[in-house]
Amino acid sequence: MRSKTIGDRALDTFIYVVLVCMGLMTLLPFANVLSKSVSQEWAIVSGKVGIYPIGFQLDTMRYVVTNHQFLHSLYISGLVTVIGTLGSLLVTAMTAYPLSKRELPGMGVLIVLFIFTMMFNGGIIPNYLLIRQLHLIDNLGALILPVLVSVFNMLVIKSYFESLPVSLEESAKLEGARNYTILFRIVLPLSGPVLATIGLFYAVYYWNDYFNPMIYINSTSLKPLQLYLQDIVMNADTSSLNQSADDLMNVPAEGVRAATVIASTIPILLVYPFLQKYFIKGVLIGSVKG
């Protein structure tokens, strides 16, 4: 590599300074919640915990992660996230590929039909009735099937497919390959970054979804983690003085809430660093071409 020019150095410095500042700022809220999860309750209540723990202890964290319901919900969330993400990626890629071929008859109309559903939906009640008719109430299928394809994600993949050079597919076609062979053998292997991105989006969606479970799941044993988290965080809003005294006396401590937030967020946070290798490398289309 050539030695760096002064301009290059200045640019580098600028970039590093901007990114470090941004990183520090965005780290603040997480550092705060993390500190609360391992601090003494009195220090949290009196507002002394900032970005480092006061009176470090792990009892709260231990209490949260050994809770039977927490562990069980964790399992349900993991199951839904893994199956949902794989299923969604497959069907979304299968849908996006034909739609990226605009010359095919009907594709334009179909795209508009998909986009229409991004904005318009029937609302809770008809959806609930549909899920009920499909016998999916209180079934984990209700957390996956109704959200199998996200139109947003589908459009991102479609846009990526459109950016791939046509020449690749044409040469394969000349050799008599079918479209699905081209999709699975040539296009998808070149789509690492976009599949990683969309996989992340789906995984985070399935992991964070609490609305569908809230509506479609009744049994305690099928409730995923986010529903549990949502209930705990909501429950703690003691600003309403009209709550009954029994509820107020049973509000989980602030430390417990913080620990629940941390314990239920860390598993999904681990997905991103794992996927990053697909982002950072970049694609070498030439190597495939040759």
Binding site: L11, G23, R102, G122, G123, L130, F279
Partner: protein, 319 residues
């Protein structure tokens, strides 16, 4: 299916020619349509089957009577929204906050992706990427609680700094001059890292050979950024922008609900918060459906227009 084909073939000459080409394309790519099948089944079953529910907006719906048993009230629910006293103010706030968010916050994730692309130290790059998307995972309740503390005029971090530089403390969360800025800033703080991911991935999708070729031609890094990276992710930028303007009327209900107070309703009350605060939508499925329908119609119109304009001026479009 072959019936359709013959029908087109029997048409006038011009149509026959075009139809014939389309028919050949269709016949030649039947397996493409098979690939679409699961997606279409999903679309029809889970998206369009429940769509009849929008008629609730024109009813006085009662959940026990169902759609067939509820009373039809025409446009009453929409009238109720538009004639509620503060609607104009609320609409203006919604548009302003949303526009600020689009203008100020839409470009930042793109810039981040471009900057990160220039970073050669892998560990640093990975660390920053991971850190800046963290706030996305915390709920607004938590983030807002934190900002109340940071922005407090008595002992808050920001005001301590202002005072250290000789300024007067600012009551950010109760002053109508500052509230919208706080909303936009905190929304940026929470979401830019997350929103950057799709652009980072788009940058990663650019063919590396192009950079090598440009370097050989003697193009500097800034030149490469402008002439290779930016065009390389333009399709993603256009797509994201068109989809973004579709949610113009959603200015951040959850965020504002956790941050605002009566003193800043004048600048901060948006459609979502207004409806919630007044309890207008509570258990009132018809009214909330009507508000949703209003938002959807405006959003869909904007997406269609955005797509049209982009096709005309940028030669790019979603469909």
């Amino acid at each position: 299916m072959s019936k359709t084909g013959t029908a087109i073939a029997r048409g006038p000459a011009a149509l026959t020619k075009r139809g014939g080409r389309r028919w050949r394309l269709f016949r030649g790519n039947l397996d493409m349509y098979l690939l679409l099948l699961p997606g279409i089944v999903f679309l029809l079953l889970f998206k369009y089957t429940p769509m009849y529910g929008v008629v609730i907006a024109f009813q006085d719906f009662n959940i026990f009577s169902g759609i067939s048993g509820s009373e039809w009230v025409g446009m009453d629910q929409f009238q109720k929204l538009i004639h509620s006293g503060d609607f104009i103010q609320v609409l203006v706030n919604t548009l302003l906050i949303s526009l600020y968010k689009i203008v100020l916050l839409f470009p930042i994730p793109i810039v981040i992706a471009l900057l990160l692309n220039e970073v050669r130290k892998m560990f640093f790059k990975r660390t920053i990427q991971t850190i800046i998307y963290l706030p996305h995972f915390l709920s607004w309740v938590i983030i807002s609680g934190l900002f109340v503390t940071i922005l407090s005029p008595t002992g808050g971090l920001v005001n301590e700094m202002i005072q250290a530089f000789g300024g007067h403390p600012v009551s950010f969360l109760t002053d109508n001059h500052f509230f919208r800025s706080v909303v936009v800033f905190t929304a940026g703080w929470k979401e830019i890292g997350w929103n950057a991911i799709v652009f980072i991935a788009a940058v990663a999708g650019i063919d590396q050979e192009q950079y090598e070729a440009a370097a050989i031609d003697g193009a500097g890094r800034i030149r490469q950024m402008i002439s290779i990276t930016l065009p390389g992710i333009m399709a993603t930028i256009v797509l994201m922008f068109i989809l973004r303007i579709g949610s113009l009327l959603e200015a951040g209900t959850e965020q504002i609900l956790t941050m605002y107070n009566p003193l800043v309703y004048k600048s901060g009350d948006v459609i979502g918060t207004y409806v919630y605060r007044m309890g207008l939508g509570q258990q009132d499925y018809s009214f909330s459906t009507a508000v949703g329908l209003f938002n959807s119609a405006v959003g869909f119109l904007l997406i269609v227009m955005g797509n049209m304009l982009s096709r005309k001026f940028l030669q790019r479009s979603i469909w």
